[in-house]
């Protein structure tokens, strides 16, 4: 079975072709980061406008890269949510209509399911059941995964997503958007002993997160110093350590709570080196997708969609998107 995957839930257009025998045949991602940088954050209307310009040309070039003709495809998978409604509608309308025209089934994929199945794209892949930490600019989730479509949300952020907290704190430090990775770079030169930031919600039971207070703490700290390069590096380090510690503590608690010893980490923040180093000290097997599958991409959508198509799932001709969509509402296969 060969499946075309389309991801357009936020500011990346991802296209991929997945083959049930050969694995990933081709994939391409176009990022809108530069487009939104001038605005200091993702502008939903501009994101939609860019998706509609980029998606079909990317589909054509990905088919060319795969040396495939459209009639060799057996199905189309697209991200139906959660995400920006206008952006989702572009991928969903195009994907559903392509499938209609080709006379093949289409399937609507949950963006976070794509992320948590992304480690399955690797040769060394985890086995069910496992705990997934999904950390990106839009999401912070701890999920118990028993199998495809069998998800229990153990904890989530009550306010800012962790990637969002990184970006906002980076902005306070004068770093260009999106500043998360820049902040991590700056933190390498920081003194870990100078400032200590709180570890939000670790002293309370439960697995939820809160990161907006850290950002405020960072702001107050910025105001208390002169603002030299070293000051900024020290604040970046203190912030990053606090986030990493918090994520580590909650992951350890989650694994203990559900008595599992496998953790997968996905989403853009999963590329953070200090987080990876810290999680390696867990008494668990930790899996990461390669960086290109950590950030938003079409490969994970094509893969999740293929599993669902193989299980006989398909959507009607009504084009549906769900900007808000809990992972727990995703159907089991």
């Amino acid at each position: 079975m060969r499946v075309l995957g389309i991801e357009s839930s936020c500011d990346e257009t991802g296209i991929a072709i997945m083959d049930s025998e050969q694995g990933l045949v081709a994939h391409t991602v176009y990022s809108q980061i530069e487009l939104h940088a001038e605005y200091g954050g993702v502008v939903p209307e501009l994101a939609s406008r860019d998706h509609i310009r980029k998606t079909l040309p990317l589909i054509r070039s990905t088919l060319d890269e795969a040396k495939m003709k459209a009639d060799e495809l057996d199905g189309v998978a697209y991200t139906a949510g959660p995400g920006l409604i206008g952006a989702l509608l572009v991928g969903a309308s195009l994907g559903r209509s392509l499938a209609w025209g080709w006379g093949v089934p289409a399937v609507a994929v949950h963006h976070m399911e794509g992320h948590l199945l992304a480690p399955m794209l690797e040769d060394n892949k985890p086995e069910f059941p496992f705990v997934a930490l999904l950390v990106s600019g839009g999401h912070t989730l701890l999920v118990q995964v028993k199998g495809v479509g069998q998800y229990k949300v153990l904890g989530e952020s009550l306010d800012d997503a962790v990637g969002e907290a990184f970006d906002k704190t980076a902005k306070l430090l004068g770093l260009p958007y999106p500043g998360g990775p820049e902040l991590a770079k700056l933190a390498e030169r920081g003194n870990p002993e100078r400032f200590t930031f709180p570890r939000p919600m670790v002293n309370r039971p439960g697995l939820d997160f809160s990161f907006s207070g850290l950002k405020t703490f960072a702001l107050n700290t910025v105001h208390s110093v002169d603002g030299s390069d070293q000051d900024k590096a020290d604040i970046a380090r203190a912030f990053e350590d606090a986030v990493v510690d918090t994520l580590f503590i909650k992951c350890r608690r989650a694994l203990e709570q559900v008595r599992l010893d496998t953790l997968i980490v996905a989403g853009g923040v999963g590329a953070n080196q200090r987080l990876r180093k810290k999680l390696s000290t867990l008494d668990a097997n930790v899996f990461y997708p390669r960086p290109e599958y950590c950030t938003d991409n079409g490969a994970m959508i094509a893969y999740a969609g293929m599993l669902r198509l193989q299980a006989g799932e398909f959507v009607s001709k009504e084009i549906k998107v769900k900007p808000r969509w809990s992972l727990e509402e995703v159907a089991a296969t």
Binding site: E38, Y39, L56, I85, L89, V321
Partner: protein, 226 residues
């Protein structure tokens, strides 16, 4: 000639098929239901005419101006269908669609189209019936506050589109001397889009699926951070 057309630029959703000179169409008033309805409506239309996608010469769509989301649904669906069937696309202005209806159904020759653009503005353009009976653009499309509309030189215009009702006072005050009739209930429709598409197609104006893109007219949608 066989052409398929669709429009989802307003609260209505419409589809039309031109088949050897005959036009059949479907039309539904369905706010926020476009994405649900469009493919089933196209299915119904093709089944009724017993035509397959592969028999079509091209796909036409209302490329805007209109609701941003609505225009993007029409664009994405058109791109998908056209790409899947390897057919070219004929983009048609929603304002031209309004003008064409007034030309065809009301026997008007000069039409000033005005559709509500929200935020105190209208989508505006002027059209003249050409010798073949098609709406030819004479005042370029723009988005502007009704107060800033320039008085056209000649008389005998027909006004068409919902902004003529919403901004009735301002527009008639400004343009009353030049106006003959007003048709404020006329909205973009796939049936007039498919008619215009035949003309454009014969003039070589069809484009590849990737080049079928929305025309928003309003292009400043966010403020840059200093």
């Amino acid at each position: 000639m066989k052409l398929l057309a669709l429009d989802t630029s307003t609260e209505a959703c419409s589809t039309a098929l031109l088949c050897e000179g005959e036009v059949i169409f479907h039309h539904q008033h369905a706010p926020r239901k476009h994405a649900d309805l469009i493919l089933p409506m196209l299915d119904e239309l093709l089944a009724e005419a017993e035509i397959k996608l592969s028999q079509l010469d091209a796909i036409a769509f209302g490329r805007g101006p209109g609701s941003f989301t609505g225009v993007r649904i029409a664009t994405s669906v058109t791109q998908g269908i056209a790409f899947s069937a390897d057919k070219p696309v004929v983009p048609v202005s929603t304002l031209a669609s309004v003008a064409q209806q007034v030309i065809d159904e009301q026997n008007e020759s000069y039409v000033l189209t005005a559709l509500d653009a929200r935020m105190g503005e209208v989508y505006w353009a002027g059209w003249k019936k050409n010798p073949k009976g098609f709406a030819e653009n004479v005042i370029p499309e723009s988005v502007l506050p009704p107060e800033k509309i320039q008085k056209p030189e000649q008389d005998n215009w027909a006004g068409a589109g919902n902004a003529w009702k919403i901004y009735e006072e301002i527009l008639s005050q400004k343009l009353a001397d030049n106006l003959k009739n007003i048709y404020s209930d006329t909205t973009p429709h796939a049936a007039s889009i498919v008619r215009l598409a035949e003309w454009y197609f014969n003039d070589g104006l069809a484009v590849p699926a990737e080049e079928a893109l929305p025309v928003y007219l309003r292009n400043k949608v966010a403020e840059k951070k200093p």
